[in-house]
Amino acid sequence: MPTLYESLGGEAAINQAVENFYRRMLVDDRVSHFFDDTDMDKQMAKQAGFLTMVTGGPNNYTGKDMREGHKHLVARGLNDEHVDIVIEHLGGTLLDMGASPEQVQQVADLANSVRDEVLNR
């Protein structure tokens, strides 16, 4: 059973997905202030890592990585609503790239499975 990562087309597809996802973040006023970094290259690379993980692609993230990686955003007010919006845009991006609603639900489930670590709870 291929992962969504594989059926979308692997690394090349994820790189395209990341750009599409990042664009959606930047034009959404509810979350753009978290993504409006002066170092956009670095920010996008981190999102590539995240998208690889939630689509079932190869990664070695630990729960500690999730906590450490988001602490500075939690300090700036990152909360459940923002995480919901991220998952919403993730879904939109993947549907646009040909994922099925079932696959998108799997991705949402994977993203939700690290919600507590991301929000440092």
Partner: protein
């Protein structure tokens, strides 16, 4: 076994081990996260003369790959490798100011000759150097000229109100003074692909790196179109116009659009700007095929950050946008201590 060093210190390397694992096992706190070559948290640099291991530059922006950066978590050395942190300071060398020439009422060109024993030819036009004065004052400027046999460096300096370095250079014109130059550094340089259309956009002395990149591309027989946009508030802020027009006449693939925010269009005036209005609007109106472009944006930080974001949202590729924001180092109003 290949010899691995980090910041000059040897670290033990097991067969097939990655640079990241070797460093962590040695007690070096290298940042990392995905441990699979995607998130780029573990970005490091190979010292000059050493080659990043095969496959360890996957996904990196071309301007980083060409400068020897690589990802430690997927790097398995097969030959000796000296590694340094990604933001390690470059070496510095002595140089003498050989000329200070007026380019406009507010901009001078400063030329440096390196000390006799140094060959500073290992830079790309468009990168920047940090100029260190005898008293320790330090400011960064972009390189506008092509490497020469003598290793001379040319920068453009705008006189900033209360600017310590710029008033020294523009008012005192200290020809003969010895300084130190540290670098080169920076992401804005020609990458050598002759078929990539280039979009060069700058404000103020952002023109310096852009004209360097244009010269570099044209000297290397670049084939695709090169569009350079220079913007200023008023006509007085433009400079190097005749040189740019001469390049335009000499190279059919090179075109220049000079823009001012204010002023009147005047088709009968040969010195009138080509466009009046906001620079970002003018560029977007006149540019097609954004995803295919390699883009360089240099100059005013507010403009650089907002235009980069705007171009990306409009479809430009993130890895194809090279931005250099010219931060001005002034103490905040009311401060009694000058900047270091």
């Amino acid at each position: 076994m290949p010899r691995l060093t980090y910041e000059g210190n040897p670290i033990p390397l097991e067969p097939g081990q990655t640079v990241l694992d070797a460093a962590l096992a040695s007690g070096i706190d290298l940042p990392c996260s995905c441990r699979n070559g995607v998130c780029q948290s573990c970005l490091v640099k190979a010292e000059s003369g050493f080659t990043p291991p095969l496959g360890s530059q996957k996904g990196l922006k071309a301007s980083l790959a060409q400068r020897g950066y690589f990802l430690a978590c997927i790097a398995r050395p097969t030959e000796n490798l000296a590694v340094i942190p990604p933001d390690a300071e470059a070496g510095s060398f002595d140089a003498t100011i050989t000329a200070v020439d007026t380019l406009s009422p507010t901009v001078v060109r400063v030329r440096f000759a390196p000390s006799a024993s140094v060959q500073f030819s290992d830079y790309r036009p468009g990168q920047f150097v940090t100029l260190l004065r005898d008293d320790g004052l330090a400011r960064s400027y972009s390189i506008a000229n092509l490497p020469s046999a003598e290793g001379d460096i040319e920068i453009h300096v705008r006189r900033i109100e209360r600017g310590r370095m710029s008033s020294w250079l523009c008012d005192d014109r200290p020809v003969g003074a010895t300084v130190q130059l540290r670098g080169p550094a920076g992401d804005c340089f020609y990458l050598g692909d002759p078929d990539e259309p280039l979009l060069l956009v700058g404000t103020g002395t952002g023109l310096a790196p852009l004209v360097g990149i244009a010269r570099d591309a044209l000297t290397h027989s670049h084939r695709a179109p090169i569009h350079l946009y220079h913007g200023a508030l008023q006509r007085e802020g433009l400079y190097l116009q005749s040189e740019l027009r001469a390049l335009e006449a000499a190279y059919p693939s090179f075109s220049v659009t000079l823009c001012t925010l204010n002023g009147e269009a005047d088709p009968d005036d040969p010195d009138a700007p080509d466009g009046i209005g906001k620079l970002d609007e003018l560029v977007l109106e006149r540019t097609t095929g954004l995803p295919a472009q390699r883009i360089y944006i240099c100059g005013d930080p507010g403009f650089v950050h907002s235009f980069r974001k705007r171009l990306f949202i409009a479809g430009a590729r993130m890895n194809a946008i090279h931005a250099d924001a010219f931060e001005i180092a002034l103490p905040p109003a009311g401060a009694t201590q000058p900047c270091a």
